[in-house]
Assembly symmetry: C2
Homo-oligomer: 232 residues x 2
């Protein structure tokens, strides 16, 4: 059966496409479900497809030869990922793991030239996505070069919350499970340090944590921490 175009009509990746072109693009895709903790693709594997996250949250993880893991980013609903083909790469440079149950559209790489010809706006969107990620990654390098761990963690939390925050009576909550270890791997530190800082912030009423959950109760306060403008 064919996919309904309403699935993707509102997404920025498809902005400016006509109905017929939408259908043409969709015709090459298939939709599938990935249960929590399953891998969508694996670091080092031959890159044969590219993806779009319809529903859920995915973390992109790089593992070093020595076994250290680093979380490169989280993918949000509506975003393209695994687009090695657009970068002229033949293997995936990282793994993609479902942080919760996910629904994903998959295209074979072979469809890329056709889609690009048929829907140039789609290609442009992919390139823009890559450009944005390059810039974000460079910003992360800057952070790691110039800021202390406390500010980096604060920034990371603010970034996640701004992209994947869900309002609750208590504050803004990260709407997928995230461990202290995850936060450590995003910021280049250890779960011990993350735990200590979250505890301290909880005492100050800035955040509220529980198992695999973080709620930011005072975003403004957290921004002060991020900018190192807080009276200690």
């Amino acid at each position: 059966m064919t996919l309904d175009r309403s699935l993707i009509a509102g997404l920025p990746a498809f902005a400016g496409l006509e109905g017929r072109d939408l259908d043409a693009v969709l015709a090459r895709a298939r939709s599938s479900r990935f249960p929590k903790d399953s891998e969508v693709f694996s670091q080092g594997a031959e890159a044969s497809s590219f993806f779009l996250l319809l529903n859920g949250h995915i973390r992109v993880v790089r593992t070093s030869p020595e076994g250290h893991q680093v979380i490169a980013r989280y993918i949000n609903e509506g975003e393209l990922f695994g687009i090695a083909v657009a970068m002229g790469r033949t293997i995936y440079p990282a793994s993609a793991v479902a942080a919760v149950d996910c629904v994903v559209l998959t295209w074979p790489n072979t469809a890329w030239p056709e889609i690009q010809a048929r829907a140039p706006a789609f290609g442009a969107s992919a390139y823009q996505t890559i450009g944005t990620r390059l810039q974000e990654t460079q910003a992360q390098v800057m952070e790691m070069s110039t800021q202390q761990v406390e500010q980096r963690i604060a920034h990371a939390l603010l970034r996640i919350v701004s992209q994947s925050g869900k309002k609750t009576p208590e504050g803004i909550e990260i709407d997928f499970p995230i461990t202290r270890q995850d936060i450590a791997e995003m910021t280049g530190t250890t779960l011990h340090t993350v735990s200590r800082l979250l505890s301290a912030w909880e005492d100050e009423g800035i955040v509220k944590g529980s198992r695999q959950k973080v709620v930011v109760t005072d975003p403004h306060g957290l921004m002060l921490v991020a900018d190192n403008r807080r009276r200690k």
Copy 2:
């Protein structure tokens, strides 16, 4: 006068282009010279052009709001840079500074669609360049997360030397002026630490330094340091 196609015929960015197409691409470019320490473009400025380095070495620098500088990368001869247009960005996210006197080809952004249509291989090359840089930057994040300063500096030197090394009787030399401060800004550390480590390595016979110059006399030894496999 028109530029000679031999200028660019051998470059990977133009691989697979016919002579006529080469001329068409070149027709939109102009060549100019940038003296040492001059800016080719400036962080935050409107991105109106993209560039190719014909001769020299350029460093790409990002400055934080607080004034901290980070060297994102060095551009080597034959590489594209400042290709914000290919990423759908309207301002330059960093500054480009000539590390030595440079010769640069400049295209107006308005020529991008035409060039891409006329020479698709050129566009693909640009996208691949961006993809490669994204991956390198992510590798840098991993390094900064998992490795000690000593290994990061060793890796940085090896990277520079492999890309811009010049063989001399004494070893492999970085063939543009580079200060301890520059190395510090590449690796997220301080010039003091760099100076100390270079001095230590010089005692071990691994490198030889002088004012704004570094010569690697024992690349294999430096690799051992980079992998932390050296008996201290």
